[in-house]
């Protein structure tokens, strides 16, 4: 190992060799073979796999939403036609010309 400063760019070659030797074992080839097998067995996830993984949760969420809508649905459903009629403004019929004064007077006197 050589004395160096934090600003040095050189590798400590002897330390590197010793570190590699200290961290390696004789079974590296066996390990690599095992690793390749594990990776091959794991397979790669496609977008369909991702969707399939989410599908059960998605279905549960959709079912829950449907139940919720069904439960709160009546209160927010559109009003029945009768209710619509009741709440509609009263229609006022207006004559195209003003009636004569005598007609109005007779109507008032007769209580119409």
């Amino acid at each position: 190992m050589t004395e160096q400063t934090p600003f040095a760019n050189e590798r400590d070659q002897s330390l590197g060799v010793e570190l590699r030797a200290a961290l390696d074992t004789a079974d590296t080839d066996v390990f690599i073979g095992r690793l390749k097998t594990a990776v091959a067995d794991a397979g790669v996830e496609t977008s369909w796999d991702v969707l399939a993984a989410w599908a059960p949760r998605g279905l549960v969420a959709a079912f829950a939403a449907a139940v919720l809508i069904w439960l709160i649905g009546p209160s927010s459903a559109p009003p029945a036609p009768a209710a619509l009629m009741a709440s509609a403004p009263i229609q006022i019929e207006v004559a195209p010309t003003l009636p004569e004064a005598v007609v109005i007077t007779v109507a008032v006197m007769e209580g119409r």
């Binding site: 190992m1 160096q4 400063t5 934090p6 600003f7 760019n9 590798r11 400590d12 070659q13 002897s14 330390l15 590197g16 060799v17 010793e18 570190l19 590699r20 030797a21 200290a22 961290l23 390696d24 074992t25 590296t28 390990f31 690599i32 095992r34 690793l35 390749k36 594990a38 990776v39 091959a40 067995d41 794991a42 397979g43 790669v44 996830e45 496609t46 796999d49």
Partner: protein, 206 residues
């Protein structure tokens, strides 16, 4: 779920050369990663061969010399394989892969709270006994492993990546997600601590 698919890697191999290293050494990591992203398991297999041993050393630097390190490497490579589509081919592949493996090792270490310790043989700790050269060397490596384990986690990773695995400061910085200056500091302090711990063997180290 598709398993290994043989597609493009045959195109980049040179069949007339028999040793696989020779056949595949010319293929760039980014090209292999691109093929792997299309589902080419053989291409990713070459990357496993290329970086498996290095990743194992990094994981061992983090977790110690036990099976946890191998599990972390396996988890990391499987994550990389499944997430290969997220790799940006314009950036170096090795730091991307190493970051995944290192994170896997760090996660495993946190989960299992494993802090593997290796007992230092008494005669090694004293540094006064000088057996034959081979034994001496073996003791030196044993002490080096122990000294490495006593370093702070990030210093351990930095010195292993820089001095043992040949990463540049910038690549180590990418793996650790810290500035280059911090990496330089980690490496410097790690070396100094290792030098101090291995004082008795300093002159004899090859």
């Amino acid at each position: 779920m598709p398993s290994v698919v043989r597609t493009g890697v045959e195109r980049v191999r040179t069949p007339q050369r028999s040793p696989q290293d020779e056949r595949t050494s010319q293929v760039e990591d980014s090209e292999l990663a691109r093929l792997a992203a299309k589902g080419d398991g053989d291409a990713f297999g070459i990357l496993v061969e290329r970086y498996g041993a290095s990743a194992r050393r990094v994981a061992r630097a983090i977790l110690g010399m036990d099976e946890d390190a191998d599990d972390a490497v396996q988890d990391g490579f499987i994550s990389a394989w499944r997430g290969i589509a997220r790799y940006d081919p314009t950036r170096p592949f090795r730091p991307w892969l190493t970051r995944i493996v290192a994170n896997s090792a760090l996660d495993l270490g946190r989960k299992r709270k494993v802090r593997h310790t290796v007992a230092i043989p008494e005669h090694a700790a004293s540094g006064t006994i000088r057996p034959d050269r081979a034994t001496d060397h073996s003791l030196f490596r044993e002490r080096l492993r122990v000294a490495l384990e006593e370093l702070p986690e990030r210093q351990r990773i930095a010195v292993t990546l820089f001095d043992a695995e040949g990463y540049s400061h910038a690549e180590v910085a990418e793996v650790l997600k810290v500035p280059e200056g911090t990496v330089r500091s980690y490496v410097f302090h790690a070396r100094r601590a290792l030098r101090r711990a291995l004082g008795a063997f300093k002159e004899d180290a090859p």
